[in-house]
């Protein structure tokens, strides 16, 4: 499994509830491709969004998002960089 980042850009601030609803409705597209949502970051102005998934490949995430009707700019596989250990 790889980490896949999806970048989304919205002309208007994102309607998160509507996006969530669409995701839920098309969940089978994600499930059948072994695509699992990890987290989502939304810009404070609501116009940019980063979603992180784990999936067999980035293409699975792309296709799942396309079929679900979730708009995105690009999707790419990523390596998770080790975060510095918190200081005691």
């Amino acid at each position: 499994m790889v980490h896949v980042i999806v970048e989304r850009v919205f002309a208007e601030p994102a309607d998160v509830a509507a996006l969530s609803q669409r995701f839920e409705e098309a969940k089978s597209c994600f499930v059948m491709r072994n695509v699992q949502h990890v987290r989502t970051c939304l810009a404070r102005d609501g116009r940019r969004m980063i979603c992180e998934y784990t999936a067999p490949d980035a293409e699975s995430v792309r296709v799942a998002n396309q079929l679900a009707g979730l708009p995105f700019e690009r999707a790419w596989s990523a390596e998770v960089m080790e975060s510095p250990k918190p200081s005691v």
């Binding site: 790889v2 896949v4 969940k27 089978s28 499930v31 059948m32 491709r33 490949d57 293409e59 690009r74």
Partner: protein, 990 residues
């Protein structure tokens, strides 16, 4: 002036003075006392009267005094003291009072032929009913015997007067008819009278009444005669000649052992050491088992061995008609003296004693005069009236040391209902005088012999199976027009109905419900159907068992199993129910069974059966479905198909949408267990049903119909389980409006096809989308793309080309570059598969051009790699460029597309003989395909590796790849299947 007192004893007791009717005391005993005193007309000692009517009172004499005081008020007047009582005796003095019985009595001694018609008619008018109607008081034996004897005498007189008048009126049927009817009422079991009555009805032109009476005659007369048919009494030839309806004795087949035993019992052992003694043989068995036939055969065979044979039969119709069987018997045998003396007895005890002693004395005289025995033969002891039973008992006791043989027949079950007969049997048993013979059913050979005599060409084995060796049923079945029709002969239905009529309400109801439940059933299922309390219910069951209607056995799983003694009987009971009532009962049973919390398969099958018979088509179909699904779980294929077909037979009568939705479910049920013989035909039907369901907005069923249709077209297989309608289908069903549904269907079909999963579902979605488009919805590119992908997947290249071309056109029109790209991508695969490399290159160029216009993703790198691949294939390309394009594609992290290009490249290398490079590319492709679990790409890569191993004679590698191929599941594309087959065709070793 005091009005004259009139006393009427014929009919209900009535006293009147002039036109005024007097109010009688409410006490029955008081009224009976008056009747007794008037009829006897002489003095009686008070003790005698107390014994007669008050033998159980605390103070009989006081009771008698009280009654006399009440009667005195009624009958005494200023002109006469009619109740004359002293301290010792009481008598009734008639004075000027009139008494109807006394007016008719003189006719008993007269030659009626010499009496004028007017006088006879006046006498007849006195007969308003039975003597002292309602006052026979059976608990007071002496009085009861007196009453019965008087009644019999008067009934005889009544019949004589009517007969005389009838003979005089024969030339005028309208005058004769009421008299004949009256005669029939007096002796309903007389065949002679009934025949005459029928002749008169015909002569009067009352054909309908005649037909009704003829039917009634058969019903009344047949049970007493056994299995032989009643002769048709409505013949018009010679009325008086037809009054004699003689019949041949019933045919006796088999029963050799029983006959031998009976003869041993009946024949007194002449010359033996044993002294003469009375013997009684009781032949028992259920109705129709052949008692009458045996009885007749015994009479025939015993006649030469006896001094006298007296034959009689009791009738069900009027068990209270005293001495009828014995009186007939004695008249036949010329013992009129005994019969004539008794009924005219002046006093109750004397009357009975004289009757009994007279009969016994006559018999004794006859027995003493002859060396040979006398045979008394009485049929149907279970119907014998109490008076006759007592007389019979008296005769047997009186002749106990003589050569008297008594032959009795009885239905074992019904004997228990006749208390007097039961007591007689018990007494004879305790005296050691009774021998009993129970008749079992006939063996198959005996049944065969029996029915061959009735109808030579009948299937005797089938008759035996249906009749269970019951002679009556066997004869009637053999006589039936067609055994194959399996109907119950009308004669059996009639007999069963008559037997049922003698049952009380509760047992009748139990029988009716039981017949609807089936040949055998659980008691627990029967009880809730009836509105009968538990105790009467159990009593009814006990009675039905005793009478031989039902049998009971414990069930292995608990409870009690009940079954009819003969299925013919059940069917006859069932046939006796009206059609509306049957439907009502079946409906009630079906609903009750259906309402059970957890019905098992047998329950469901039962519900279906009853619902069908109740005419509730929807319940029947649903029950068939439920039962069928249960049978699927039990892998009972034949049952499933039977239930489904039964459901299909009823589904057409349902209204929409149920007719449509339930038919889809029934086809689904059949497909679960069996592939249809004509899949194209069924596919067309399912398409029709699904389209109709869609129009009816029955989306779930429409989808199920399309899915089943897709199974026939796609997998050519059976639904693996009832899992259909994954979340995809659920999601689709929530989409509102045909446009949204069309888009959803297309997306879902594409999604599944790309993954090589649930392809039948994918096909079903496409079919549904097609139906929507056919219904007028504008087609969309995504739908055509999905259809093309599916056609390509299953190897239908021409169809795929059409769909994909249309998909590209629509995508361009819709401005959907992604759909256009994927459509072209599949057209490229189509061209490569068909080795049309020019077209492949052109398509790859279009892909490359399109890829540059699309947002960042895997499309542009794939297009480059595809173009490089085609060019390498054509021999115009550069492998380095291809290598570079593949790396770029890998960076986009599109594993399926990368695996596809690598495998295609590996195939090219394999074809060129570069096995090492081919294996390297194939291994890369295999690793990628495995990560995304794509079956077709995995298979294609392994097929290349297997080929390489085969060429290199690497047995381990070859075996490994073959194992890998064998482990692949469903969903392979046509191209992958071909590759796998080719690899397997190499054999198990290189």
């Amino acid at each position: 002036m005091v009005e004259r007192l009139h006393i009427r004893l014929l009919g209900e007791l009535e006293l009147s003075r002039g036109a005024t009717r007097l109010k009688l005391p409410p006490s029955k005993k008081t009224r009976a006392l008056l009747g007794y005193l008037v009829l006897t007309g002489r003095a009686h000692r008070r003790e005698r009267l107390c014994e007669l009517l008050w033998d159980v009172a605390d103070d009989p004499r006081a009771a008698l005094r009280w009654s006399l005081s009440k009667l005195r008020e009624l009958v005494d007047d200023e002109s006469a003291t009619r109740l004359v009582a002293t301290r010792e005796a009481v008598r009734f003095a008639l004075a000027d009072a009139t008494v109807d019985v006394l007016e008719v009595r003189p006719f008993a001694e007269a030659q009626l032929a010499d009496v004028s018609t007017a006088k006879l008619e006046a006498a007849l008018a006195c007969f308003r009913g039975e003597l002292l109607e309602g006052l026979e008081l059976p608990d007071f034996h002496a009085y009861y015997a007196f009453c019965l004897a008087e009644r019999e005498a008067l009934r005889g007189l009544h019949a004589r007067i009517v007969t005389e008048l009838l003979e005089r009126a024969m030339s005028a049927p309208d005058r004769a008819l009421p008299l004949a009817r009256r005669l029939v009422d007096l002796d309903p079991t007389s065949e002679r009278t009934r025949a005459l009555f029928l002749q008169l009805l015909h002569a009067s032109g009352r054909e309908r009444e005649a037909a009704h009476e003829a039917q009634k005659s058969r019903r009344l007369l047949e049970p007493a005669r056994g299995p032989e048919r009643a002769p048709e009494p409505s013949t018009r030839a010679s009325p008086l000649a037809s009054m004699r309806m003689s019949e041949p004795p019933p045919m006796l087949i088999g029963r050799r052992a029983e006959l031998r035993r009976a003869r041993e019992i009946l024949r007194t052992r002449d010359g033996a050491d044993e002294p003469p003694r009375a013997r009684v043989l009781l032949v028992t068995g259920e109705a129709g088992i052949g008692k009458s036939a045996l009885f007749a055969q015994l009479l025939t065979s015993e006649r030469p061995h006896v001094a006298d044979l007296h034959r009689g039969a009791a009738h069900e119709l009027d068990p209270g008609f005293p001495y009828a069987p014995l009186l007939g018997l004695l008249q036949q045998s010329g013992m009129a003296t005994a019969q004539g003396d008794a009924p005219r007895g002046d006093e109750a005890a004397q009357a009975r004693e004289r009757l009994f002693h007279g009969v016994a004395r006559a018999l004794g005289t006859k027995l003493d005069e002859s060396e040979r025995p006398v045979l008394l033969a009485i049929e149907d002891l279970h119907w014998l009236d109490e008076a006759s039973v007592l007389l019979l008992q008296h005769v047997v006791r009186a002749c106990r040391d003589r050569r008297l043989s008594v032959l009795l027949t009885a239905r074992s079950g019904e004997l228990a209902d006749n208390a007097a007969a039961r007591r007689l049997v018990r007494a004879l048993r305790s005296e050691g005088r009774l021998e009993e013979l129970s008749l079992p059913p006939l063996s198959p050979e005996e049944t065969c012999a029996l029915v061959r005599g009735v109808a030579g060409d009948v299937d005797a084995a089938a008759v035996h199976a249906q009749s269970g060796g019951h002679p009556l049923f066997a004869i009637e079945l053999a006589r039936a027009p067609s055994l194959a029709r399996a109907g119950v002969p009308a004669s059996i239905t009639r007999l069963v109905r008559e037997r049922m009529e003698s049952l009380a309400h509760e047992p009748s109801e139990v029988l009716r419900w039981a017949s609807v439940l089936g040949t055998s059933f659980c008691i627990a299922a029967l009880e809730p159907l009836l509105s009968i309390d538990p105790v009467p219910f159990v009593e009814a069951l006990e009675q039905l068992e005793r009478l031989g209607w039902l049998r009971f056995e414990p069930r292995v799983e608990g409870g009690t199993e009940a079954s009819f003694s003969h299925d013919l009987v059940r069917r006859a009971v069932y046939d006796g129910l009206s059609e509306p009532r049957r439907r009502l009962m079946h409906g009630r049973i079906a609903r009750r069974l259906a309402a059970l919390a957890a019905p098992d398969e047998s329950h469901a099958a039962e519900v279906a059966r009853h619902a069908v018979l109740a005419g509730d088509a929807e319940m029947a179909v649903r029950a068939c479905l439920s039962a069928g699904r249960g049978c699927v779980r039990l892998l009972a294929t034949a049952d499933v198909l039977t239930l489904a077909r039964r459901g299909l037979a009823h589904v057409t009568s349902l209204p929409l949408p149920e007719a449509c939705t339930l038919e889809i479910e029934l086809h689904e049920l059949m497909l679960l267990v069996q592939r249809p013989e004509r899949p194209e035909e069924l596919g067309a039907r399912l398409s029709e049903l699904a389209t109709r369901a869609l129009a009816l907005r029955q989306l779930e069923h429409a989808r199920r119909g399309f899915y089943l249709q897709s199974l026939l077209r796609w997998e050519q297989g059976k639904p693996s389980d009832a899992r259909r309608f994954s979340r995809e289908a659920e999601r689709l069903s929530r989409l509102e409006g045909p446009r949204a549904r069309l888009c959803g269907l297309a997306d879902a079909a594409r999604c599944l096809t790309m993954l090589n999963r649930d392809l039948a579902d994918a096909q079903a979605f496409v079919l549904e989308a097609e139906a929507l488009v056919a219904a007028g919805e504008a087609e969309i590119a995504g739908f055509r793309l999905a259809a093309g992908m599916l056609e390509l997947h299953r190897g239908a290249h021409e169809l795929a080309a059409v769909q994909l071309e249309r998909a590209v056109e629509l995508a361009q029109l819709e401005g959907e570059p992604l759909i256009e790209f994927v459509s072209l991508e599949y057209r490229l695969e189509l061209a490569l598969s068909d080795a049309r490399l020019d077209e492949a290159e052109a398509t790859a160029l279009r892909l490359a051009a399109l890829g540059t216009r699309m947002r960042e993703g895997s499309e542009a790198p794939f297009a480059c790699a595809a173009l490089a691949l085609v060019q390498v294939a054509r021999g115009t390309g550069d492998t380095n460029a291809l290598e570079e394009a593949v790396r770029a594609l890998a960076l986009a992290d599109a594993k399926q597309r990368t695996a596809y290009v690598l495998t295609r490249w590996a195939e090219l290398l394999l074809a060129c003989g570069d096995h090492a490079q081919a294996a390297a590319r194939a291994r890369e492709a295999l690793a990628l395909a495995a990560q995304i679990e794509h079956p077709s790409e995995t298979a294609l890569a392994r097929a290349v590796l297997a080929s390489v191993a085969h060429a290199a004679r690497d047995e381990d590698a070859f075996a490994r790849e073959n194992e890998g191929l064998a482990a692949l599941g469903q969903g392979l594309s046509a191209r992958a299947r071909v590759a796998v087959e080719r690899a397997r065709a190499y054999g198990t070793s290189p």
